[in-house]
């Protein structure tokens, strides 16, 4: 993959904000966006008048029940009379928002960008799950009565068959992430649980049980991203965006191998190349792989080349990915522990790396020294891969 990108400015992250992640929030979506945006501005010592451009990310409009959600979220996100972009690649959106902000700054078009991601899933009822019906092909898929969990279960089953992993090996990821989330003040589903708890929770679509899955969540997150010169005026400890990657896989998911996430691997190679990283498994110090399901973290660790294909599940057993392990993954607690307000969850992961690289993560700070970090998100029918590489 050749990335033909000529950058005018180096890009930094200088501030971050987040709301509590909740099953049901009283706040409207735009109020959630406002809270996160305000916190991010405050953390960078900026006000809205300093901001040149706004980038908004939100996943399917159907969750909030509002169409044109970018425009709807505009006022809370501080976008009035400013250049505003809304990006959307399903679950991949959370990492795609700072990627979009990156090219706003790297191109020289904007110097200071406010980056906001929001999702409110609670309005859809009896269960937001039903909304996912509309991502399936109406002619050859919907008549079968699919549920979104089917496709994850199919992918997990294929991974297990191809790689020899058992449900109890995969459940360790849920145990780890929910435990990590105990130290995250925004967390919705933080808990000390055991592998047995996961295996005994309700079977939804075998092999997926309730505790293998991240929860339905409301919440928002935000970042401030600026050019290098601006960043150096604002802070002594900017976090640099070294590389971005984003690719789209074929929508005909039933026509391809599901054990290895090629959709992510191509995006990761693009981001690493831009960042000058040749051996990610050695050079990356901390990672936030996208974990809406426990197997998905393993899948993504392999797609990000932090472990060889089919080996992540063995390493998780050895504690390799624990907060005090060799290569901590999801030290935040991830989507499994902190929660999954779709676009905001991906951005929460990037915010976590920002705090980790500034040694500001408090109890969540990983034990080893950190210099380089990677986060990813994934979206649609195993399609959109988004990757961001950061350094301090």
């Amino acid at each position: 993959m050749r990335s033909n990108i000529f950058m005018k400015d180096r890009v930094a992250i200088v501030g971050a904000g987040i709301t509590t992640f909740m099953r049901r929030a009283l706040e409207t979506p735009r109020e959630l966006a406002w809270e996160a945006a305000k916190m991010a501005l405050d953390s960078a010592g900026l006000t809205l008048s300093d901001i040149d451009c706004v980038v908004i990310g939100s996943a399917p409009d159907t969750f909030d029940g509002m169409h044109l959600k970018g425009e709807y979220l505009g006022d809370g996100s501080g976008a009035i009379n400013k250049p505003m972009t809304r990006v959307y690649v399903g679950g991949g959106t959370g990492v795609f928002v700072p990627e979009s902000a990156y090219w706003h700054v790297a191109s020289g078009v904007c110097k200071k960008v406010l980056v906001v991601a929001e999702e409110k899933m609670s309005p859809a009822h009896p269960h937001p799950q039903y909304v996912f019906k509309y991502i399936w092909d109406p002619i050859i898929e919907r008549p079968l009565g699919p549920n979104l969990l089917w496709i994850f279960a199919m992918e997990m089953r294929r991974y297990m068959a191809k790689c020899g992993a058992k449900k109890e090996d995969i459940a360790l990821v849920s145990v780890k992430n929910k435990r990590n989330a105990l130290d995250h003040p925004a967390a919705l589903t933080a808990a000390n649980i055991t592998v047995d708890d996961v295996l005994k929770s309700e079977t939804l679509v075998w092999p997926v049980n309730l505790l293998d899955v991240s929860p339905v969540t409301d919440g928002a997150a935000a970042l401030i991203m600026t050019s290098e010169n601006v960043a150096r005026e604002i802070t002594d400890s900017p976090v640099w965006v070294d590389g971005i990657g984003f690719t789209l896989e074929n929508q005909h998911w039933y026509n391809r191998e599901l054990a290895f996430p090629r959709y992510l691997n191509y995006a990761a190679r693009m981001a690493y190349k831009m960042a000058g990283i040749e051996r990610p498994w050695k050079e990356i110090d901390v990672a936030e792989p996208y974990d809406p399901f426990d197997y998905k973290e393993l899948h993504h660790i392999e797609g990000l080349m932090l472990a060889r294909p089919c080996e992540a599940w063995k390493l998780v057993r050895e504690g390799y990915f624990d907060r005090n392990g060799e290569l901590p993954t999801s030290p935040s607690g991830g989507l499994l522990g902190v929660g999954n307000p779709i676009a905001a969850a991906g951005l929460m992961k990037v915010a976590e790396l920002f705090w980790q690289l500034r040694y500001e993560a408090g109890k969540r700070q990983v034990k080893k020294p950190v210099h380089k970090a990677v986060a990813n998100a994934w979206g649609d029918l195993m399609q959109a891969g988004t990757v961001i590489v950061l350094s301090n």
């Binding site: 904000g17 509590t20 068959a161 679509v205 705090w355 500001e360």
Partner: protein
């Protein structure tokens, strides 16, 4: 939220609280959609009605697409040949569903998955293959034990008079 900030914004509601909120408005979209199947899938569905699985071949790379497409997504050229493909294949992945589209518990769990069909034009072990997503009539225990993965299967058709030219004309894939 660096370590300095402990209290985050956000007011949590319990389920009961949410549904008794002042100003709560309930709304439901009343839009109804009729989807045209398109130029190639229409013909594919006609084939199902006649008990055939039809694929479409790319003149450039030779791949045969099932379900068929009017263009090759890799070469970006028009496909130009209809090929009737074998009704056999192997199970790529299979799962047991206990919930409906609306996430309600269903009484009889169902097995669904993807089938890699025995279609020529692909290299052995290639990432892509011709195949279908459908119901699979196997014992759920075989899905759990792993016996089902890689199992040889064939199409079980609905009786001819019940076929309507839609994807459900295939009842399921069953062991050979």
């Amino acid at each position: 939220m660096s370590s300095k900030i402990n209290k985050l914004p956000g007011i949590k509601l319990k389920e009961k609280e949410m549904y008794s909120l002042i100003g709560l408005v309930e709304d439901m979209p009343q839009a109804k959609y009729d989807f045209a199947a398109g130029t190639t899938i229409s013909k594919f569905l006609e084939g199902l009605k006649e008990g055939k699985i039809l694929g479409r071949k790319c003149p450039k790379c030779g791949r045969i697409f099932v379900p068929p497409r009017s263009y090759c997504e890799w070469c970006h050229v028009a496909t130009n040949e209809w090929i009737e493909v074998p009704q056999t294949g192997e199970i790529h992945t299979a799962v047991i569903t206990y919930i409906s589209t609306k996430r309600e518990k269903i009484e009889r769990p169902e097995v669904v998955g993807t089938i890699k069909l025995d279609v020529p034009g692909y290299r052995d072990g290639e990432y892509e293959f011709a195949g279908l997503f459908h119901k699979i009539c196997v014992d759920p225990q075989d899905v759990i034990s792993g016996k089902a993965i890689g199992m040889k299967v064939k199409v079980r058709w609905k009786p001819k008079e019940e076929r309507k030219g839609n994807i459900l004309d295939i009842e399921c894939f069953e062991p050979l």
